[in-house]
Symmetry: D3
Subunit: 315 residues, 6 copies
């Protein structure tokens, strides 16, 4: 039918069968010819409350077996357009956060050198710092769409400078991102100081707290962000805890009053046409997801992100 | 107090006691005198992903013990108006889908001949095909209100023509429904082809995808459908996966971005006055419903459906 | 930094460590010097369906370890403003509802005599009757903000006059509350008679059923209630089942079609400036809360209630 | 086939279908003609730690659908021998322990007057005191086989004399049992005083602590007890927490180091030939039984108890 | 180190990473060069009570990531001895039991023609009938070691002759097995007739009911069976419900009073030296296995079965 | 009654109430006057498979509320004999294993200098290495009773020398323990090399693999070990995974075929009279313990360890 990799169809092999790759896409060991590489970064030692994101990639892949190739709402046909494969998991060191971050950085340097767009399944949010280091090394400081309950701009936690709560302060300090083209969507909850959010605003970060988004479509905001980004390279970091715990209970640091999945879908779909150079979906913790639906949600959001990658045709 | 069957009151017998009938209504073995027959069709061998709907009727009944007789929002008083009983479960053949569908058809022929309105607790959605065959045999092609994440209009699945994903293509081919009076509400997700939904639109099906309904009341749509139906006989098939997994996690093929329970209630309540000749609530899978609240939701939606059956008085 | 008690910071002691007090505040054995006393009333023998609220206080405390001191949305800084401590649990008699209610009354007389504002973690809703008796004894009949799926105005249940379903009829009969300054928000579901809600309206209760609040901000209602209350002393009784089961599955008598957490937050935040003399959060049942997020929600709502207590500074 | 009530066969009606009666036996509303009445006593307000036994009867019935009529190990054919029915649940007052115990007593007086052998599904262990009062009123002081982790011989708990932990002290004080024909099997754990067990030995109770039974068959003890009882009327009270939590996790006050199900089966099977006048199986708490297997175990133990009732034929 | 396929080491790639193959062995698409093919048969439509075994292979593979290559108790070194790979899942038809059994038969004909020893992960027990048909076609009637709570010798269920409860009657009728070299170990529970087990004894089946094995080592029995088998080709069919539900809760038709894992290990280890031509492990149902340990047990038993295949060296 | 700290009685304050300290003992901030300090080491970043032991101390404390002061089986009366308190949790650095191990070492130096016997609730097994360093610094190389499924004698894991799998190789290399007075009980499962266990035997370790202990009392072994130890100082390290997963499902690296709780109790009780200078109970992972009973088991084993500390009187 097409020259591109296709997910195994649920009508050819029962959905509960087959490889545990993302959407049951082919598993690739080599990068040549790939446009998009889906990969797992199974790690939870950068988290401060509930663990479990080490099992995130495995569970997201399992639930992704439900997804069919065509996007009924947007017409996107990613597997008619791009060569996509699941390249497996990074071989992190589960006993050392510092070493794991180094491994992620090195691996991403290789992925980016091969010209693929990396789509990461976390893992906790600390994985995004080494990813951004590699991305900025290749593309220069990028625009950042960061969807999260938390700004993740702490300076240190227990004296550590690289954890899931300090990612975007480090990214800004190191010049990995363009501060005034950094959009933080879904922020809420409580802070250690009254200035927890506002300092980042001073750097130029554009913050859209959840309570300003309640009850309404994100289409208007979704239209605004791409306009503001223009043709800059952009990285999308999606923390599943941006969603309300009703929609995504299986996460490490849940905060009430969050986004809904319709809002998440609108936000991602609005990114069609921007120059996405990489993205991640982090903080899915299967042990706290008894129905499996948080991983299902993550799988769908990753699919929707793939649907807005550059080059995807719509029908 | 009244000549009609009444649910056992939670103030007479503790809710965790008593028969496991729907709302603890009397269990009837004979149909004479009944206006409405609530029944279980405990079957899950027509499903393609997670199983478990075989336990749907049992769990829906268990959770229905919470429901009291009067509808506070609408004033409906179904048990002041109609003779309702739980007639138990159909004796399906759990090893053969084909044989089970035949048994359902035969049973429904009997129910309809007795003049009762059947209210079915599924079971997976494949039960609706033999039900519609019986309904059409008695009432002719019916209008159909079909609330679902999926259109269920596949041609075949693994070569099989009668599964939970092919019901409404078969119903249209066999002339069981009036295509232009067929309303599919809540559709979403991904498809095997880009035309998964549009072909059915060509048959006349009126489709209301979930993303067009997000964030807003379904009262306007709810007002429109009955107007369009007029006094035609109508069958209502309610797939619990039309709801978002946040509201109904316990189902076999969940899709994110779905309806909310307020929307579901509005939609059903809007059907007051139409000529409902039967209805079902399908796809509740208790093993994936750790809190029991999906079954509770199903029980309430069935109660609301009973509240809009012909002849129900409001106070 | 301040003379007031502070929660232990998640950056000083890992959140999964330390005392199981509310927000890891100091545990106080004496009341002198306290402005606000957080306490547990671990009891579930006044409930009619699922039990488990006896573990509510323990689980709410456990999940409260996630909460940081500053309210990012409202700027409230309660621990810069008031002396707050967790004073532990009341020593109820788990074998006798009557005796437990007596113990609660006696304990509250002592708390109120000491001039603290009591913030209770239930327990089932039956605890609110003896609390209101003590509150009225000290403050006279109070205004009441009662957020709940249920009006809790039954006369008797199994012949008993004091259960979780009869609280506010008793409160009105005994003159503990000002009926026309009683606001019941979130009511829904089914009733034993068609008059289950309307009788209370006759007493003057202002009822805001859930279906009138669907899809929209509660800020307007939130603005109205304080205006109507004026400077009367007010008690806030928050039944977690006011929330939809999608948001709060872990409760004893869930009803579909409920409030969302954004609505709950708006409603509580609107109470800033009223003269709250006490409050409770009831009906959290951990055995029905597999992800722990109902308790997390309860902990956050209690925090938000503390943020609107008289005297709290905002930044 | 026989004149006696038969369980519905799993080959006639799928096991997940049909009435929620014990073993899907007929539900009887009248006692005449019955030899054995299986009944539920759904109550958990006499318990001191985890609640949930109010759902015990419902869950035991649900899991009993697995059981077929013939005992493969012993040859017992109870439904070829006795008229057995499920007579439903006692209408206890879930808000008052004292009132509930009174209702149980009154109900049992009626059952025993009708000459049936009552087989009770609890409920917490406090139900056994009123049962023994009724039993002793009819049969005089009975021999007692009491299988439990706990001796349940506290004097008071929170000042209450009738709870799940005081049953057998009361029974001995009131002369309901023959102390020297009272066998307590499976005792273990910790005590409030060093004399927690030994005082009861002074009354004549024969105690068989779990640690004396580890690793070995209970057939020898099982042979001894009937010899010692002779033809006295005997009541069997089986607390599911006698089993190790590995075998029965779903209970309110679990104690490690308990009996195994092989031991439980041996003990019950050894009672063949004694004059059992009633029995109960208590303390099954479904909310703590995620796999449902504690209720399954309880259902099987109740079946085995029925297999050793007077008059049961063996093949 | 060796020319044979090796499991990925947990010290090379974190156990929660990598392919979801059995023990993270290489996934093979072709059979040439293989000695042993591990495969999944994900199916649950042949089961009569709880479903879920369709997810068995996926979950067994997931939990098998814990297993290291060397057997510490027996010294077996299977991956120093044999070429083992995971060949994925059979593409069964999830809507038709008959068609699925046909697919299994055809697939096994191919596997056996290629000379590999097939090691199947079920799936419900109905898969064993087509497997035995293929095995007998190649090897003639085989000796059978059948470990199970149930004899699975029903004639029909709901009129069907091929279900998980009729396998071994069919196998005996069709001459697939040598009746007097058929060993059924672990039988227990209840039966539809008093002759449920004894009829099979009449065919020559050697039955070892669980109650004769309680409390003791299976080493003696384990020594006896191989002696009796001699050098006949033997098939081993291991139903996980042979284990007590304490050890294996996650199964469809659990029966209390079962084997322990030490007994299971002894039994399998005793088979060293017999001529095993194939084996299966069936009836693992993940939805009923909240801790995942039933699948872990299954993975270990499959590993132990591989350790006793012909040709495995010991160190 | 006594001058010593007492647990709060379940008859004074309902068990689900009160502080979350071990057995609801007083929480001490200072060490003077203490004989025994119970403490938490909430950490899971040294684990290789399932995480979650960071919540171990909290959950063990919660379940310990069931335990009463007197040991019914042995007569031990620890709280009549010793001053015991819960001193809370160590403030580990959850982002750095190396730093956390350093903190544990420093904290233990302080504890031992104060002359208390530390009783630790883990956390994963990596905590035992810094503990042994402190213990050996004070007492010299100690005898070690190590109960575990695993020998934990790997050299490195992912290149790291200090993880939960390398503890006892390090301890032996560093001379912290007396190799020929090191007893490893319960070993089983699979290994990375055929010599995984035997190398340690070469150092002098006395290993008692699980399969040599199946089906029988550990009293003989329990008698042997103290005889062999004599009056040496001894440390007891108890890994909950020594128990079979049926008894302790909630752990990170479960292995089938393990010890039973009767065996665990026998083994600990046999240590009465030896000179225990410290002990720990590690690897309880609450997210994998849906019933809570693994934590309950851990709490009881810790209690039993306290019962055999030097100086405990028996009655
Ligand atoms: Mn984040
Ligand atoms: Mn976040
Ligand atoms: Mn459907
Ligand atoms: Mn659907
Ligand atoms: Mn209420
Ligand atoms: Mn309520
Ligand atoms: Mn008891
Ligand atoms: Mn007990
Ligand atoms: Mn079988
Ligand atoms: Mn079986
Ligand atoms: Mn260990
Ligand atoms: Mn271990």
């Amino acid at each position: 039918m097409t020259e591109f990799n296709q997910p195994i169809s649920g009508n050819d092999l029962a959905r509960f069968s087959g490889p545990n790759s993302f959407m049951r896409l082919p598993q690739a060991e080599r990068l040549d010819g790939l446009d998009v590489a889906v990969l797992g970064v199974p790690m939870d030692i950068g988290t401060s409350w509930r663990p479990g994101t080490r099992f995130g990639p495995k569970q997201i892949r399992a639930e992704s077996a439900m997804i069919r190739p065509y996007n009924m709402a947007t017409g996107a046909a990613p597997f008619d357009s791009l060569q996509v494969a699941d390249i497996g998991d990074l071989a992190i060191n589960t006993f050392s956060l510092a070493d794991s971050l180094r491994i992620i950085r090195d691996s991403y340097d290789g992925l980016l050198a091969a010209g693929v767009i990396p789509v990461a399944m976390g893992g906790d949010h600390s994985i995004t710092l080494p990813i951004l280091r590699a991305v900025a090394a290749r593309h220069g400081p990028v625009a950042l769409v960061h969807v999260d309950a938390h700004a993740d701009v702490n300076d240190t936690m227990f004296g550590e400078r690289e954890t899931h709560g300090t990612v975007f302060r480090r990214a800004q300090e190191e010049g990995l991102i363009q501060p005034d083209k950094t959009y933080q969507v879904g922020l809420r909850g409580t802070g250690y100081t009254a200035e927890d959010f506002t300092e980042a605003q001073g750097w130029g970060f554009q913050q859209f707290p959840a309570h300003e988004l309640w009850f309404k479509s994100l289409a208007p905001l979704g239209a605004e962000i791409p306009r503001d980004i223009g043709d800059r390279p952009v990285y999308v970091s999606y923390d599943i805890d941006s969603l309300d715990p009703a929609y995504a209970p299986g996460t490490g640091t849940p905060e009430i009053g969050g986004l809904t999945t319709p809002q998440a879908l609108e936000l991602i779909r609005a990114l069609r046409g921007v120059n996405i150079v990489g993205c991640d979906l982090v903080e899915v913790s299967p042990p706290y997801d008894p129905s499996g639906n948080t991983a299902l949600t993550a799988a769908n959001l990753l699919y929707e992100l793939i649907c807005v990658l550059p080059g995807v045709k719509h029908r």
